[in-house]
Amino acid sequence: MQKTTETFVDALLKGDHAASLRIVQNQREHHSRFTIYNELITPAMHEIGMLWQQNKITVADEHLATAVCDFVLSQTEYDLVQHSDFQETTPKAMFFTVQDEYHYLGLKMVSILFREKDWNVKYYQSNLSIDHVMEQVETWKPAVIGLSFALAYRIEALTAYLKKFSELDYEPEILVGGRLMHQYDFSSIGPPNTTFIENLNELQTWFNKDKTIRRDDSDGKANTSSVI
């Protein structure tokens, strides 16, 4: 997909919505959303980061590329939203970025992948204050809370959110993701049911594990699944 990534980066930087969408739609004919997010869109945004490092583009260009990328992501979600049909038993997941954090493209992909797996998803995008988050969590009681951060100095904010979650009167699964996951050791922070996820492959692993557990749950006893 490397050649395609180059063309995609070009289209993003030109602000060409139509071309960008066409590339992704063509890829969709042969590839899953997961593969496109993991092997086309994520590398494309990273390449854009590299171009800034090399002084070939400016932050203004990054803004434009982000707008187009966001548009394209929305389109990959569209056919899902149309067919979603939530029941009471559907597990719930909510997603947001920590306060003052506007890097949300990765989080958006993750939220769409949850939707694809028939989760009942609330995606709040960016910059959600702690109070607002806690209010939502307490009333809606999601089984999974996913949050994202990319700005190194926002780690304090992350810690504050995690602390609040550990005080909840139920135990949701907490997923924390973002580009910094491999740079720090987070194992000491967050409630025990917190998973730090570095990339989409790790998310896939989490999904697989989660599926087994849920099946066990519905069978009555844990660890009695016949799935090998």
Partner: protein, 251 residues
């Protein structure tokens, strides 16, 4: 070095040690001897790479840590001078803020115009193309006579849409004459007339004679300016034209 310039300016050594700074530099950043201390960690590599370039003067964006903000976007202007370099930092955050807000608005609007609308629009324009194509079927009345009835308003898009099919069919059947029937035409647009003229000229080039039929006086008025230019006949109605050419052929 002029210290009173109204921007942060630093004179540094090759290993980023600050030798001298402007008043504004002192005002904006925490006091330190190492320039890298006020540069965001994720901008260190960029700064180093840029300074390693073999050019005397350069400018690029950099994220800096100021007294007020843990991350602020600046444009750095560098002038190398022997073993040392002058670094001037101009804040650009505010300018971007404006662009950012506009872009966020645009983004939201784009998302609102959700895919449904987008798809409908695509489908609609395909339908329009299709309907335009169907508004000008080419009918072979005999080996020598073709009929091209045009329906609806005469627009440029419509003629473009029907042309392709019509020329292909006419080329295959090679009639002597084509009757273009205007009985079903509503309004005529100026661009439509121009396209029509081109269509007629191509027929002429193919050695096919064009006869316009079913023209209302209003239509005729639109076509008048081209009358002399084009080798076309006018017959009043389809009935007369068909009598004249088709029936004559079989008599």
């Amino acid at each position: 070095m002029e210290k009173r310039i109204p921007l942060p300016l630093f004179r540094i050594t090759q290993d980023f040690q600050i030798v001298e700074r402007s008043d504004q530099a002192e005002h904006t950043f925490q006091y330190t001897n190492d320039l890298l201390d006020i540069v965001d960690a994720d901008s260190h590599d960029k700064l180093k790479a840029m300074l390693a370039h073999d050019v005397e003067q350069l400018d690029f964006e950099l994220n800096l840590i100021t007294k007020h903000s843990p991350l602020a976007l600046y444009k750095a202007f560098i002038q190398k001078s022997g073993e040392e370099a002058f670094c001037l930092f101009v804040p650009i955050e505010e300018q971007y803020q404006l662009v950012q807000n506009q872009l966020t608005d645009m983004q939201n609007r784009l998302n609102d115009t959700n895919f449904q609308l987008f798809e409908k629009k695509e489908k609609f324009s395909k339908m329009v193309d299709r309907s335009n194509e169907l508004s000008g079927p080419y009918i072979e009345l005999s080996d020598n006579l073709g009929l091209l009835p045009v329906f609806g308003d005469l627009s440029e898009e419509k003629l473009v849409a029907i042309k392709d099919n019509v020329f292909k069919r006419a080329y295959v059947s090679q009639p002597e004459r084509v009757l273009i029937d205007f009985t079903g035409v509503g309004n005529i647009q100026e661009e439509g007339v121009r396209e029509l003229k081109d269509l007629i000229l191509v027929f002429e080039q193919m050695g096919i004679h064009v006869v316009m039929i079913g023209l209302s006086p209003r239509h005729a008025l639109h076509l008048k300016p081209y009358r002399n230019e084009l080798q076309i006949d006018f017959a009043h109605s389809a009935k007369i034209a068909i009598k004249k050419w088709l029936i004559a052929e079989y008599l």
